[in-house]
Subunit: 235 residues, 2 copies
């Protein structure tokens, strides 16, 4: 598959453009190029002027901010098929956070900002298509706000696990972590230590079994209760 075709495919698969005419997508694709990053490479920094937005074709990316004390705080982890920085492009003109590749050979499609805005202005059917997906992004952020403000580390982890694609029988779903536990911890805004301890407790109670990144969820009911914010039995 040529680069051009690949770009068209990836764009078409994006929620933003799923409702758009293929002609519109075609035009957007003209303003794209592919870029490849190595693990840990910085894609952009908070405050930089916004050249365009990105679609992940392969690999993974994380968005983070730097606190005053220099620590990274992960706002979002993104994977294949997701896009980021559109909101920045269509508003600020500046990136609100830093972005970094989290896998080796992370391949991104960079959509040129000026070109995209031109297409957006000229093609009257593109904007309505985007409104829907922006709203859905908005709602998922609302969920995240709730998660962070409301619920405990254990509940966040339970939710995370239950949302992973699972295989196996209903009463013993098997899931595989899509990233290292350290990164899972960062994604959930807890320390790796807390995550490790939480998992150990669950193992001791027979709620999960663990083997590296592969987990077997033995008691979905308990996990669901934890995810819903029930404190769960102490000690």
């Amino acid at each position: 598959m040529s680069d051009r075709e690949m770009i068209r495919e990836s764009l078409r698969a994006l929620p933003h453009f799923r409702m758009a005419r293929s002609e519109s997508v075609e035009r957007v694709a003209e303003g794209c190029r592919t870029v490849t990053y190595g693990k840990g490479d910085q894609i952009f920094r908070a405050g930089e002027p916004c050249r365009g937005f990105f679609v992940i074709h392969r690999g993974s990316v994380c968005l983070y901010r730097l606190a005053a004390d220099g620590r990274q705080h992960v706002l979002h982890s993104l994977y294949q098929g997701q896009s980021f920085a559109e909101a920045a492009l269509l508003n600020h003109g500046r990136y609100p956070a830093c972005a970094e590749a989290r896998s080796a050979a992370t391949e991104l499609i960079e959509v040129d900002g000026a070109h995209f805005q031109k297409v957006l202005a000229e093609d009257s059917r593109l904007a309505p298509a985007m409104v829907g997906s922006l709203c859905s992004r908005l709602l998922s952020l609302v969920d995240r706000v709730e998660e962070l403000s409301v619920i405990s580390a254990a509940a966040r982890l339970a939710r995370f696990l239950l949302r992973l694609p699972s295989s196996g029988p209903l009463e013993a779903a098997e899931v595989t972590l899509p990233m290292s536990k350290k990164d899972v911890a960062a994604h959930l805004s807890v320390t790796p230590e807390t995550l490790s301890r939480t998992l150990r407790q669950w193992k001791e109670r027979g709620v999960v079994e663990a083997d590296g990144r592969r987990l077997i969820l033995r008691d979905l009911r308990v996990l669901q209760a934890l995810a819903d914010g029930d404190a769960g039995p102490r000690s």
Copy 2:
């Protein structure tokens, strides 16, 4: 001012429609009605089908979710001139949270969902105008996610105070809380006790002076450092 005029005015002032043609706004206004709620009245509940979205003409509203144990968790506090539930309308068709009036005589404009979507589809200039404001809403949520995941209760309070409209000299800005301390606490996702204690500490250190809802910020530099996430001097 007639109801119709009031509605037009309020809509025009909304970020969503600031870039829209006045003809578009006119059409949207046709599908609106005003509703008045008393303090504590429920506007809608999470999961209900979405009749439309709302603009606050007077008063205040909070959006919250109910945890499994029945406690309310505030996701957002909203005031005059703000709108809510558009994202729900343009996606789910269901409200993702509960909404409640927080002031007596809270007057809302209810924009009929079906009518609005019709206008959105027919008027090709409305959607582009909305894309911008949805993006800005998105960015403000990203900020909120960062706040909640990153920073301490004291830092959240410091940020909150520094963002309030202030009067007085630069070195002793005076601000007035826009709601009860209890509600401020809920907005910041801390308990009223924690808020009270934090303020007391600051008073003892001479950083702020307090008189009910009126606060004098005596040391903006310290507050700014706290807001930036510096831990600040212990004890």
